[in-house]
Amino acid sequence: MTGVVVTRHNRHSRTWWKTAIGLVLTAIMLFPVYWMLNVSFTRDQDMRKSPPGLFPTDATLEGYRAVVDQQLPYLGTSLVIGLGTVVLTVALAAPAGYALAKLRPRGGGLLSFVLLAAQMIPGIIMAMGFYAIYLSLGLLQSVPGLIVADSTLAVPFAVLIFTAFMSGIPGELLQAAKTDGAGAVRTFWSIVMPMSRNAVVTVSLFAFLWSWSDFIFASTLASGGAHQPITLGIYQYIGNNNQEWNAIMATAVVASLPAAVILVLAQRYVAAGVTAGAVKD
């Protein structure tokens, strides 16, 4: 017993320097994030100090007060658009994933190919096309319009995730449901969907994050409207008052919160999503 403890202790004491290097590398990589936090707490009069203070010694909440006073409507809009994008994406992609994984549709291969190709279209192209269409439909500067546009960022990826995940559901289970008289819709709703909870979580996280972070659709389709997302809030902040960097960085910190929450609560889903297809229960 003591032997085991000693070896374990030895192993860790032999690798402590690797941990040290790892910490240094991580600190370098995350320095910009720290700097954002540092500046968000810096007082106006210290902002142009040379050299800049490495720590917020006279920390102020002025920047965050500005967020509460000015940016809350933008944050609310982004939240609504993000949730709308999640609902639309899951509603479109989950049935498609089920069909591609389990129902062997004729032409399914072609559809998967089109979905892969669709992911590669540059956002600026989509934005210009949407702009032309929304202009004639009167959908510019509208929340539903932005939800639809943002969902194009996530739908192809979501179908791929659902297809990969649902392929892993045992066929016998679906066969048994069929024998019991359940139709395709019933099987999908009562068996496939409850079993695909992890895929739903992964897809929802990414759909929300991408919609929350979207700048190109927001700036082309929602600019100047009554409901603008937080990315535009920050962008206009930079344009209008580039003196109050504590307010800008405080808004940036608040805009990063969803990413932080996702990293803490759902890190395994994120890694799974990055290497999509490696998704396993």
């Binding site: 860790h12 690798t15 402590w16 690797k18 941990t19 790892g22 590398l25 991580t26 910009p32 954002m36 142009r48 040379s50 050299p51 800049p52 509603a91 479109l92 049935p95 498609a96 069909a99 591609l100 389990k102 129902l103 062997r104 549709p105 559809l111 190919f113 089109v114 190709a117 669709a118 590669m120 600026i124 192209i125 989509m126 210009m128 096309g129 032309a132 269409i133 004639s136 739908v155 392929s167 892993g168 139709g183 395709a184 819709v185 929350w212 972070s213 700048f215 190109i216 082309t220 990315t231 930079i238 805009a255 990293l263 994120v270 890694a271 999503g273 990055v274 290497t275 297809g277 490696a278």
Partner: protein
């Protein structure tokens, strides 16, 4: 750019395509004939929403974009929709534009330099993090942060860090005796600055994908090589690097497709300036269509379409490579 990939070699065979399982017992054609038609109806019922969606929100905007690039649009005719057809004149305008050559050059430099550094740093970190040490998994997770942050957050943070007078980067350079650099306001440095920020954003993706690729290299190979007296450097170049080639190809190709279309970072940090010194096809297209008081939708769409062609060419190469690896 935010992107994800599918690793061909990490998925069980049955997951690869629905058809793989279906076709296994009998030739594909008889399987197709035996598929009950009611199931076909159900399948396409489930696929109908997404198919309609693809047609309405991918195909139609693409079509509108091609249409835009072939007509002479003004603000008036844009609203009324009666712009005269001018064939390829917008494309000729674009080719003749003095911005064309610099934009092409910047797009290539931005893409290649970003990819090389993202891949090299990502691979070095991935190899480092495959070793077992305390906090390894936690630190690797923290490396994801730049990838998760909204691009506007990263871009504005970098803007302030690179600020000529009050930025921390110039302060650090000053501390080691180097004079201030006008990172964002000098034509000599603006492209370097946006590449720097883009590398930072792209490293996590390379790290995660390459790390997961490293997991599938059998540990026994390294042990055997170590017994034969190979040092760490030789083990990397003789084992890790060759065996990682398929995953590397996928990572780089997908990175290429997505780096080509990077827009947010450049636009937020420099707007492609000063004097077009950091403009790429993506920002130029936006500049033409939305950046001026008098929009030039036709040429803007033409530039965008050139970008689509480039992205799709490399995208097809990517899909070919991925399929070939899936089969082997």
């Amino acid at each position: 750019m935010k992107h994800t990939t599918q690793l061909p070699d990490r998925r069980p065979l049955r997951d690869r395509t629905g058809a793989a399982t279906a076709a296994a017992p009998s030739p594909a054609r008889t399987t197709a004939r035996r598929r009950p038609s009611s199931q076909q109806w159900a399948a396409w019922g489930f696929l109908a929403p997404v198919t309609l969606y693809l047609a309405l929100f991918y195909a139609y905007p693409l079509y509108r974009n091609i249409d835009l690039s072939l007509r002479n649009y003004t603000v008036r005719s844009f609203v009324q929709g009666d712009a005269p057809f001018t064939g390829l004149r917008n494309y000729l305008t674009v080719f003749d534009d003095p911005t064309f050559a610099p934009a092409l050059l910047h797009t290539v430099v931005f893409t290649v330099v970003s990819l090389v550094f993202q891949y090299a740093i990502g691979l070095a970190l991935a190899v480092f993090f495959t070793q077992h040490f305390r906090l390894s998994a936690t630190l690797r997770a923290l490396f994801l942060v730049p990838w998760l942050l909204p691009l506007i957050v990263s871009a504005s943070t970098w803007s302030w860090m690179l600020n000529s007078d009050s930025g921390i980067v110039n302060a650090a350079l000053h501390a080691v005796g180097i004079g201030p650099v006008n990172w964002l306001t000098s034509p000599d440095w603006s492209l370097t600055s946006v590449i720097l920020a883009n590398i930072w954003i792209g490293v996590p993706f390379n790290l995660v994908v390459l790390h997961s690729g490293l997991q599938s290299i059998p540990a026994g190979l390294y042990e055997a090589a170590a017994l034969d007296g190979a040092n760490a450097w030789q083990r990397f170049w003789r084992i890790t690097f060759p065996l990682l080639r398929p995953v590397s190809a996928i990572t780089l190709l997908l990175g290429l497709v997505y780096t080509l279309k990077v827009f947010d970072i450049i636009w937020i940090m420099t707007k492609g300036g000063p004097a077009d010194s950091s403009t790429t096809f993506a920002t130029w297209s936006y500049q033409l269509g939305f950046g001026n008081l008098l929009p030039a939708f036709g040429p803007g769409a033409a530039v965008g379409n050139l970008l689509v062609v480039a992205a799709l060419v490399f995208g097809l190469v990517y899909m070919r490579v991925q399929r070939k690896q899936g089969l082997s």
